[in-house]
Amino acid sequence: MINLIGGVPLYVLEFGDELVYFTPYTITLFLLALTFTVLVLISRPEKQVDIAFGGDAYRTKEISVSEMRFRRFMAIACGLATMGAMVTGDIFNFTLFTAMVGITNVGIVAAVKSLHVQDAAYQYGLVALAATVPLFAGAAIYAAVTGSLSMIELMKGTLPAVPLIAKGMLMLGVIGEGMAPFYAAKAEMFRAPGAPYVIMCSLSSLLLFLRVVEIVMLG
């Protein structure tokens, strides 16, 4: 129905049976993910200041080196998964990257020594886990109905129309990774110290949402 949502593919990279393609849209998203991943790589965490209520005392939270290393690793993995999801031209591949983003998001705050944040991360992890069900189910219906998982083939409009339910499932799967109305746990995870890493949590789910909007408009 609508041709070339994100613009004309500028460059197609062949990865066996899967293609990676860059349109003006995906390239914008990819570059943003890349920028923030580089920021994660080169910046050190901030020292979050905490006020003790009821008094005028305050203290800063220090992040130990081992914790910082682990969280930086997870944030970079999250950035790489996001970048992959931005440029992949295959629906199943996209769902895999989405699942990986969910896991790394839990990893980013898993090392934080705050019960509140860890509780939120646990709940978020459960939802991310459950979100893979509609996600993969959506991809499966795509494959079953159209006989193709390639977004470039879907873009051409020659394949059978994708059923609305498959699009809905794909959408719900991505929304489960932390978009509204399932944002409560993610907002609490944001209270963790370590700004450059925590930002990746939100960036990844926003970018995934932006990409899935493009995907459901194809075909």
Binding site: D17, N93, A99, A144, P160
Partner: protein, 147 residues
């Protein structure tokens, strides 16, 4: 007020799983109602099994297949699709060329088993899947070691 009541439910992350389960349930019920979906016959697994095909999922044993007819999206990009060694890492490929005892996907890296499940047809997927496993393992081991 109804808005305040809804936002009270939404803002508590303990309700999150229940909410998401409810949303999934609604969507799946809608899916069941829409059920007779058309099925594209040009798939990897046909609906009727050809017991003589090398792709038969219930086939145990027999001679290993060398070339099978797999419907791939871009056959020109993946000439070796279906071969056991079609998506080896460069190092595994080197091993498989040097000796017969090393370098098949199953023994060379954890993604190899998934390779077999996917019948070696899809390149990047196997890498991502192995990475997901690795990340999950890294988180679990970090939390276990730090108590």
């Amino acid at each position: 007020m109804i808005i305040r009541r809804i936002s009270h439910i939404l803002c508590n992350y303990d309700n999150l799983t229940r909410l998401f389960a409810g949303a999934c349930l609604l969507l799946f019920i809608a899916g069941i109602l829409l059920l007779p979906l058309p099925y594209s016959e040009k798939q990897l697994y046909p609906k009727t099994f050809d017991r003589n095909s090398s792709l038969d999922p219930y086939d145990r044993g027999g001679p290993p297949f060398t070339q099978v007819t797999i419907v791939s999206q871009y056959p020109e990009n993946s000439p070796t699709a279906g071969l056991v060694t079609s998506y080896l890492t460069p190092f595994s490929l080197f091993l498989s060329q040097v000796t017969l005892h090393l370098g098949t996907t199953i023994v060379s890296h954890p993604g190899g088993i998934i390779d077999e499940i996917l019948y070696n047809t899809r390149g990047l997927d196997t890498v991502v899947e192995a990475t997901i496993l690795f990340i999950a393992f890294a988180i679990a081991s970090y939390i276990y070691r730090k108590g």
